[in-house]
Amino acid sequence: MKTLRLLAWGFLLSIFVATLLAEFVAPAPYAEQFRESPNALPSWQHPLGTDELGRDALSRLLYGSRVSLLLAPAAALLATLIAALVGGVAGYLGGWWERVAMGATDLSLSLPWLFLLLTVRAMLPLNEPPMTSVVITFALLGLLGWSPSARVVCAGTRTLRNSEFVLQARACGCRGWRLLLRQVLPNLKPVLYAQFWVSIPIFILSEANLGILGLGVAEPLPSWGNLLRGLENYSAVLNNPWRVAPLGLLIIVVSCFQLILPLEDFRS
């Protein structure tokens, strides 16, 4: 297990470095169209082949990783923090507070937030650089994605509130916020971790789905989301199996994340 975790660390680190050094590592600029060779097979010049417009697939993957690997975890962190705050406080205080907070959570689970995203997009100037709109999209995803976890966190807190060690702590004179922050929240860690790791790919994918509505990353900037959208063209994937590369990388990265910070933390 230990060697696996080390391997995972090593892999993540090398990916991270590679994306940061994309300018030097990538075989070509991500937007350059080699129009003479669209849909090319892997070659020395294009190790992962090219896409429909003849853009180098490896370079797009590297630059896309930079966008997604930085922004999706940030959004997931934001969502998890809000969930911890709302769910934790509601579950800890209980009673009327809990009912209102959970009512709000349920509402936010079922509202068509899509329109908020559309509205925000409409308020941005059209000549905004693609990077700004990506950051805003991910920030919104983070701000809106807290509700599923808040419920679970709330339920977890409720159980902890009545558990023996919290009672003990209370008996020892630990009260209020101190009790919440020192005793309850640390014990929610496993729930929060699970939430966090699951959210990362979900946010990456939501960005891809938003692309269908024109709310994702704008051309020519690549992201894992719009690279994954290429997978929907089933027959193209069958003909060019290396198109699966972004998916493979995403899976490996998510698995690595899961290996590095798994359940051991609370066992010790």
Binding site: M1, L4, R99, M102, G103, D106, L107, L109, S110, L111, P112, W113, L114, F115, L116, L118, T119, R121, A122, P148, R151, V152, C154, A155, G156, R158, T159, N162, E164, P190, V191, Y193, A194, W197, V198, P201, I202, I204, L205, A208, N209, L228, R229, L231, E232, Y234, L247, L250, I251, V254, S255, Q258, L259, P262, L263, F266, R267
Partner: protein
Amino acid sequence: MWIQRLLRHLLTLLLTALLGGLLGATLMRLAPGFGVDERELDTRLNEQSLQVLRQSRANERNILRFYAQYLRGIIHGDLGVSPSLGRPVAELFSERAPVTLRSVALGLLEGWLLGFALALPGVMWRGWAYDLLTSVVGGIVVCLPSAVLAMLFLYVGGPGSLPIALVVFPRIFRYSRNLLLQTYSLPHVLTAKAKGLHSTRILLWHVLPSAAPPLLALVGVSVSMAFGAAIPIEVICDSPGIGKLAWQAALGRDLPLLVNITIFVTLLTLTANSFSDLIGKAFAKQPT
């Protein structure tokens, strides 16, 4: 006494759902492209027809007045008429709700069974290889866009509920595994283990009751997750359900349809959640 409480509960539920409808309508009203009809680009239409087309949605401009009208309609059992599909909403619902309800219910069931079945052995008999394997399987599924999952099933063939199950499953799997692990390390479970109790008995008597409240909270969440997943899946698979209707309502800026769908989904989410809350509380009161 309990009837009174139940009634109060139901009333809050209803009011929240209606509030949800109003908020949903407001979100759509504020979004760009409201009151716009694709037919406006038809070059065959003359100016008068275009004017009529533009005026036809004018009564939806004032969202509060629209909502008041809508509520008045509801009291008379009238859910309104969808302007983009040109048919009464009630009719659309009665056609499409069964499709979605069935696939969502089946998908949830399959997702839970799968998630739980994979999580439990890993927790009861710890082994890193199994842990790794299940994590990777869960990881792969969670990374696949639901649209891609849907496509895959379309090509290979298979029940429409399975993509929904696969969307729900990873979350269930991870939560329940983490929770079970945590519960297994609680003092009273350790004590039971030390006493040499049978593993089934430990699971049923000591672990599940402690893990139940958060797990049940997840039931409610998974309902809304499954509905969220139903939208892209139904759109890709062209199955005539509520998810596809919701998509059409969004693209066509169909206010009456959207309000009804929002209320429907809110009601469903609320019911599922308050149900799991109630049971969860009952569990929590039990001494463990």
